[in-house]
Symmetry: C5
Subunit: 83 residues, 5 copies
């Protein structure tokens, strides 16, 4: 799971049917700085630090294996302690 | 889902059977600048910003699990807001 | 399997249901220096060198295929010899 | 699908059984410059530009899901137009 | 399949059950220089050049889909010719 920050929203009228109704957010990977889009399943808001999963695991998190999303926000980080 | 720009077309006469009939487009990842080829399922045009999925999720988007494509354009971005 | 060092803990109250009860740790890839979060199944502690798996293999290690984790600590390295 | 150039051949006498009979070629990713090995299913030759797929999609292209190859050449590029 | 060199051994007493009995080796990707750990199924030795597969394909090579390894050595390279 990558550690990301939620930085924005995406709107796409024309999209694959299984993406309808999903909340699509722009996230930024804290380590690489790369920005990409993830479907949110935990009600994350702009500025929050989140856990993001990729690939087939994102489809599991979204609860349907035919879903055309390969990235999902699965947790909101309350605290992260490094030693 | 990566945020890409559609930059071109690809023609390949000799190809794996399951790729026949697919519209193959060159896309450029906005974050990394990498160019690769994705099958389009939403009618995207040159210059448009799109959402691209990879791996087994691309096969889901293309509607057949035996398809030999590992990248698909699944949405056309109308608006992307970063804060 | 990537060679990582366990560097911290993560707390996330709001998270996808299948992540409940998992011990989530911050790990750092020795090669790339990238930090990410993995679910621990072997009782690893801070500072230990561990083996980490990704993607669908992490779900196998966690023993349930519907789990929303795409990274897991699967071994604690006792010794690593390079020649 | 990555855009690669076929740059060589690989011989491996000792290999996993499911790789027997496959034509293994060295390809170079045009974007990253990385070289790796892909199984060819379309009769590609040295110097040609090809489309390469990875992961479970490569196994689909090779027609058997138990195959120990995670990369396959699935198309020969006739023309690629960028605007 | 990535082209790697076998550079060492790894010992891990505490590990996920499905990894018991596997020969775990350190390999170095020739292109990126990254070191990681792969399970060997072809009897590779230190210093040899090998083909390495990742993800679900590694589990196929190891012959059991519930295995917690996401990387496997599947061939020993006799000869690699680039033109």
């Amino acid at each position: 799971m990558t550690i990301c920050k939620v930085t924005g929203h995406v709107w796409a009228t024309k999209k694959e049917d299984t993406l309808m109704g999903l909340k699509l957010m722009v996230v930024e990977d804290e380590t690489t700085g790369a920005s990409f889009v993830a479907a949110d399943v935990v009600g994350a808001g702009i500025g929050e630090r989140v856990l993001v999963v990729a690939g087939s695991t994102a489809r599991r998190a979204l609860g349907r294996d035919d879903c055309a999303a390969d990235s999902a926000i699965v947790g909101i980080i309350d605290n992260l302690q490094r030693k």
